[in-house]
Protein backbone atom coordinates (compact mmCIF):
# COMPACT_ATOMS: atom_id res chain seq x y z
CA UNK A 1 0.00 0.00 0.00
CA UNK A 2 1.40 3.40 -0.98
CA UNK A 3 1.07 6.20 1.57
CA UNK A 4 0.40 9.85 0.76
CA UNK A 5 2.56 12.17 2.83
CA UNK A 6 2.58 15.86 3.71
CA UNK A 7 5.93 17.52 4.54
CA UNK A 8 5.67 20.77 6.52
CA UNK A 9 8.84 22.84 6.87
CA UNK A 10 9.61 26.49 6.11
CA UNK A 11 12.86 25.50 4.39
CA UNK A 12 12.27 24.37 0.81
CA UNK A 13 15.71 22.76 0.90
CA UNK A 14 14.81 20.76 3.98
CA UNK A 15 11.52 19.63 2.43
CA UNK A 16 13.45 18.27 -0.57
CA UNK A 17 15.97 16.54 1.69
CA UNK A 18 13.21 14.94 3.80
CA UNK A 19 11.43 13.76 0.65
CA UNK A 20 14.69 12.32 -0.67
CA UNK A 21 15.30 10.55 2.65
CA UNK A 22 11.78 9.09 2.58
CA UNK A 23 12.22 7.92 -1.03
CA UNK A 24 15.66 6.40 -0.30
CA UNK A 25 14.36 4.65 2.80
CA UNK A 26 12.25 2.24 0.76
CA UNK A 27 9.05 3.56 2.32
CA UNK A 28 6.06 2.91 0.04
CA UNK A 29 5.51 6.47 -1.10
CA UNK A 30 2.35 7.56 -2.89
CA UNK A 31 1.71 11.25 -3.48
CA UNK A 32 3.67 13.90 -1.62
CA UNK A 33 2.55 17.45 -0.76
CA UNK A 34 4.69 20.19 0.70
CA UNK A 35 3.74 23.14 2.93
CA UNK A 36 5.86 26.05 4.15
CA UNK A 37 3.93 26.53 7.39
CA UNK A 38 1.00 25.21 9.39
CA UNK A 39 -1.60 27.29 7.57
CA UNK A 40 -0.62 25.90 4.17
CA UNK A 41 -0.64 22.41 5.66
CA UNK A 42 -4.20 22.81 6.99
CA UNK A 43 -5.34 23.92 3.51
CA UNK A 44 -3.72 20.88 1.91
CA UNK A 45 -5.33 18.57 4.47
CA UNK A 46 -8.72 20.06 3.62
CA UNK A 47 -8.31 19.20 -0.06
CA UNK A 48 -6.26 16.00 -0.23
CA UNK A 49 -6.13 12.61 1.41
CA UNK A 50 -2.98 12.40 3.55
CA UNK A 51 -1.83 9.24 5.37
CA UNK A 52 1.12 10.72 7.23
CA UNK A 53 2.37 14.19 8.20
CA UNK A 54 6.06 15.00 8.72
CA UNK A 55 6.42 18.40 10.32
CA UNK A 56 8.89 20.88 11.73
CA UNK A 57 7.94 22.86 14.84
CA UNK A 58 9.88 26.05 14.31
CA UNK A 59 8.24 27.93 11.40
CA UNK A 60 7.12 31.49 10.70
CA UNK A 61 3.39 32.09 10.30
CA UNK A 62 1.51 29.20 11.88
CA UNK A 63 4.15 27.14 13.70
CA UNK A 64 4.11 23.41 14.28
CA UNK A 65 2.45 23.43 17.71
CA UNK A 66 -0.31 25.77 16.51
CA UNK A 67 -0.87 23.47 13.52
CA UNK A 68 -1.10 20.43 15.81
CA UNK A 69 -3.75 22.20 17.89
CA UNK A 70 -5.78 22.97 14.74
CA UNK A 71 -5.50 19.37 13.54
CA UNK A 72 -6.69 18.09 16.91
CA UNK A 73 -9.96 20.01 16.43
CA UNK A 74 -10.83 18.02 13.29
CA UNK A 75 -12.39 14.57 13.77
CA UNK A 76 -10.84 13.14 10.59
CA UNK A 77 -7.46 14.87 10.48
CA UNK A 78 -6.67 14.07 14.12
CA UNK A 79 -6.45 10.40 13.06
CA UNK A 80 -3.54 11.09 10.68
CA UNK A 81 -0.20 10.00 12.23
CA UNK A 82 2.23 12.89 12.70
CA UNK A 83 6.01 12.71 12.98
CA UNK A 84 8.10 15.65 14.16
CA UNK A 85 11.31 16.28 12.24
CA UNK A 86 12.84 19.25 13.99
CA UNK A 87 15.98 20.73 15.50
CA UNK A 88 13.97 21.23 18.69
CA UNK A 89 15.16 18.88 21.40
CA UNK A 90 13.83 20.24 24.69
CA UNK A 91 11.76 17.83 26.76
CA UNK A 92 9.13 20.50 27.42
CA UNK A 93 8.34 21.15 23.76
CA UNK A 94 8.53 17.49 22.75
CA UNK A 95 6.13 16.56 25.55
CA UNK A 96 3.79 19.33 24.44
CA UNK A 97 3.86 17.95 20.89
CA UNK A 98 3.29 14.39 22.07
CA UNK A 99 0.28 15.56 24.08
CA UNK A 100 -1.13 16.95 20.82
CA UNK A 101 -1.12 13.57 19.11
CA UNK A 102 2.39 13.35 17.66
CA UNK A 103 3.37 9.70 17.17
CA UNK A 104 7.11 9.99 16.56
CA UNK A 105 10.03 12.36 16.82
CA UNK A 106 13.24 12.71 14.85
CA UNK A 107 15.80 15.38 15.63
CA UNK A 108 17.69 17.04 12.78
CA UNK A 109 20.31 16.12 11.70
CA UNK A 110 19.25 12.59 10.80
CA UNK A 111 20.35 9.66 8.66
CA UNK A 112 17.89 8.36 5.99
CA UNK A 113 17.84 5.03 7.85
CA UNK A 114 16.36 6.79 10.89
CA UNK A 115 13.54 8.12 8.70
CA UNK A 116 12.79 4.64 7.39
CA UNK A 117 12.76 3.10 10.86
CA UNK A 118 10.39 5.63 12.37
CA UNK A 119 8.00 5.70 9.38
CA UNK A 120 7.83 1.92 9.21
CA UNK A 121 7.11 1.63 12.92
CA UNK A 122 4.41 4.29 12.88
CA UNK A 123 2.61 3.06 9.76
CA UNK A 124 2.64 -0.53 11.02
CA UNK A 125 0.90 0.69 14.17
CA UNK A 126 -1.55 2.79 12.16
CA UNK A 127 -2.46 -0.15 9.91
CA UNK A 128 -2.83 -2.61 12.80
Amino acid sequence: MAYNILIVDDSQTMRKVILKAVALSGFDLGECWEAGDGREAIEILANHWVDLILTDLHMPGMNGLEMLKEIQKDEIHRQVPIVLITTEGSEKRIQEALSLGVKGYLQKPFHPEAVRDILTRIMEKADA
Binding site: T13, K20, E88, S90, P109, F110
Partner: protein, 168 residues
Protein backbone atom coordinates in the same frame (compact mmCIF):
# COMPACT_ATOMS: atom_id res chain seq x y z
CA UNK B 1 28.20 29.83 30.48
CA UNK B 2 30.63 30.70 27.64
CA UNK B 3 32.89 27.78 28.63
CA UNK B 4 29.89 25.42 28.62
CA UNK B 5 29.02 26.63 25.16
CA UNK B 6 32.50 26.19 23.72
CA UNK B 7 32.63 22.43 24.29
CA UNK B 8 29.00 21.93 23.35
CA UNK B 9 29.37 23.93 20.14
CA UNK B 10 32.40 21.91 19.00
CA UNK B 11 30.47 18.71 19.64
CA UNK B 12 27.37 19.96 17.80
CA UNK B 13 29.27 21.24 14.75
CA UNK B 14 31.01 17.87 14.39
CA UNK B 15 27.74 15.96 14.78
CA UNK B 16 25.82 18.07 12.26
CA UNK B 17 28.53 18.00 9.59
CA UNK B 18 29.19 14.29 9.96
CA UNK B 19 25.50 13.37 9.92
CA UNK B 20 24.22 15.70 7.21
CA UNK B 21 27.25 16.03 4.94
CA UNK B 22 29.45 13.04 5.87
CA UNK B 23 32.29 15.52 6.43
CA UNK B 24 34.74 15.79 9.29
CA UNK B 25 35.55 19.19 10.79
CA UNK B 26 38.70 20.40 12.48
CA UNK B 27 38.48 22.98 15.25
CA UNK B 28 41.03 25.75 14.64
CA UNK B 29 43.02 27.39 17.40
CA UNK B 30 42.69 31.16 17.73
CA UNK B 31 45.98 31.85 15.94
CA UNK B 32 44.90 29.79 12.97
CA UNK B 33 41.62 31.63 12.61
CA UNK B 34 42.74 35.04 11.43
CA UNK B 35 41.17 36.76 8.47
CA UNK B 36 43.08 36.69 5.17
CA UNK B 37 44.71 40.07 4.49
CA UNK B 38 42.78 42.48 2.31
CA UNK B 39 39.35 41.20 3.27
CA UNK B 40 36.77 43.92 3.84
CA UNK B 41 34.17 43.84 6.60
CA UNK B 42 31.72 45.75 4.39
CA UNK B 43 28.36 44.13 3.88
CA UNK B 44 27.09 44.47 0.32
CA UNK B 45 23.48 45.26 -0.35
CA UNK B 46 21.04 46.33 -3.04
CA UNK B 47 22.09 46.54 -6.67
CA UNK B 48 25.73 45.70 -5.93
CA UNK B 49 24.56 42.55 -4.14
CA UNK B 50 22.66 41.38 -7.17
CA UNK B 51 25.58 41.89 -9.58
CA UNK B 52 28.55 40.43 -7.75
CA UNK B 53 28.88 36.82 -6.66
CA UNK B 54 28.84 36.53 -2.88
CA UNK B 55 32.11 35.72 -1.11
CA UNK B 56 30.57 34.75 2.20
CA UNK B 57 27.18 34.13 3.76
CA UNK B 58 26.21 35.04 7.30
CA UNK B 59 23.23 33.43 8.98
CA UNK B 60 21.88 34.79 12.25
CA UNK B 61 19.38 33.33 14.72
CA UNK B 62 18.21 34.98 17.95
CA UNK B 63 17.82 32.84 21.06
CA UNK B 64 15.99 33.37 24.33
CA UNK B 65 15.97 31.12 27.38
CA UNK B 66 18.30 31.00 30.37
CA UNK B 67 20.30 33.57 28.39
CA UNK B 68 19.47 35.56 25.31
CA UNK B 69 21.51 36.67 22.32
CA UNK B 70 22.38 35.73 18.77
CA UNK B 71 24.16 32.84 17.11
CA UNK B 72 25.89 33.61 13.83
CA UNK B 73 27.35 31.30 11.24
CA UNK B 74 29.82 32.77 8.73
CA UNK B 75 30.66 30.53 5.81
CA UNK B 76 32.48 30.98 2.48
CA UNK B 77 29.98 30.88 -0.38
CA UNK B 78 31.99 28.27 -2.30
CA UNK B 79 31.91 25.94 0.69
CA UNK B 80 28.20 26.60 1.23
CA UNK B 81 27.55 25.68 -2.40
CA UNK B 82 29.49 22.43 -2.08
CA UNK B 83 27.55 21.58 1.07
CA UNK B 84 24.24 22.33 -0.64
CA UNK B 85 25.13 20.04 -3.58
CA UNK B 86 26.03 17.33 -1.09
CA UNK B 87 22.98 17.97 1.13
CA UNK B 88 20.39 18.08 -1.64
CA UNK B 89 21.99 15.49 -3.94
CA UNK B 90 21.68 17.76 -6.98
CA UNK B 91 24.06 18.81 -9.74
CA UNK B 92 25.87 22.11 -9.12
CA UNK B 93 24.41 23.49 -12.38
CA UNK B 94 20.90 22.91 -11.07
CA UNK B 95 21.51 24.76 -7.81
CA UNK B 96 20.31 28.36 -7.37
CA UNK B 97 21.81 30.91 -5.01
CA UNK B 98 18.53 31.06 -3.07
CA UNK B 99 18.79 27.32 -2.41
CA UNK B 100 22.32 27.80 -1.08
CA UNK B 101 21.11 30.62 1.17
CA UNK B 102 18.19 28.47 2.37
CA UNK B 103 20.55 25.57 3.12
CA UNK B 104 22.87 27.81 5.17
CA UNK B 105 19.89 29.05 7.20
CA UNK B 106 18.82 25.47 7.83
CA UNK B 107 22.38 24.51 8.77
CA UNK B 108 22.50 27.32 11.33
CA UNK B 109 19.07 26.26 12.57
CA UNK B 110 20.35 22.72 13.16
CA UNK B 111 23.44 24.03 14.94
CA UNK B 112 21.39 26.37 17.14
CA UNK B 113 18.64 23.83 17.85
CA UNK B 114 21.08 21.11 18.86
CA UNK B 115 23.33 23.47 20.82
CA UNK B 116 20.58 24.99 22.92
CA UNK B 117 18.90 21.62 23.45
CA UNK B 118 22.19 20.47 24.99
CA UNK B 119 22.48 23.57 27.15
CA UNK B 120 18.94 23.28 28.53
CA UNK B 121 17.45 19.84 27.89
CA UNK B 122 14.37 20.48 30.00
CA UNK B 123 12.98 23.81 28.85
CA UNK B 124 15.08 24.57 25.78
CA UNK B 125 15.33 27.96 24.14
CA UNK B 126 13.07 29.95 21.85
CA UNK B 127 14.79 30.51 18.50
CA UNK B 128 13.98 33.07 15.83
CA UNK B 129 13.79 32.19 12.13
CA UNK B 130 17.26 32.32 10.48
CA UNK B 131 18.16 35.46 8.54
CA UNK B 132 20.92 34.81 5.99
CA UNK B 133 22.71 37.56 4.07
CA UNK B 134 25.67 37.91 1.71
CA UNK B 135 28.81 39.48 3.15
CA UNK B 136 32.27 40.31 1.90
CA UNK B 137 34.22 38.72 4.75
CA UNK B 138 34.17 36.07 7.45
CA UNK B 139 33.06 38.57 10.09
CA UNK B 140 36.40 38.78 11.88
CA UNK B 141 35.38 41.85 13.82
CA UNK B 142 32.12 40.30 14.95
CA UNK B 143 32.05 38.04 17.99
CA UNK B 144 35.19 39.53 19.53
CA UNK B 145 33.25 41.05 22.43
CA UNK B 146 33.92 39.62 25.88
CA UNK B 147 30.35 38.34 26.02
CA UNK B 148 30.82 36.26 22.89
CA UNK B 149 32.13 32.78 22.19
CA UNK B 150 33.71 32.46 18.76
CA UNK B 151 34.93 29.25 17.17
CA UNK B 152 36.54 28.62 13.80
CA UNK B 153 36.52 25.34 11.94
CA UNK B 154 38.28 23.89 8.93
CA UNK B 155 35.95 22.06 6.56
CA UNK B 156 37.21 20.85 3.17
CA UNK B 157 40.20 23.21 3.50
CA UNK B 158 37.97 26.22 3.98
CA UNK B 159 37.26 28.10 7.17
CA UNK B 160 33.88 28.79 8.72
CA UNK B 161 33.11 30.66 11.90
CA UNK B 162 30.42 30.22 14.54
CA UNK B 163 29.87 32.89 17.18
CA UNK B 164 27.44 33.05 20.07
CA UNK B 165 26.85 36.59 21.30
CA UNK B 166 25.11 37.11 24.64
CA UNK B 167 23.01 40.12 25.48
CA UNK B 168 23.88 41.61 28.82
Amino acid sequence: MPEDIRGAAISVVSKVFETMFYLSVETLEEGEATEPSGASPVQITGEQEQKSPPRFLRSEIGFQGKNSGKIRLHIPYDLARKLAVNFMGVDDNDLSESQVVDMVGELNNMLAGNLFSLLDKTNGYQLTVPVTVRTMDLGTREGTETSAVTLSFNVEDQRLKLSVQFES
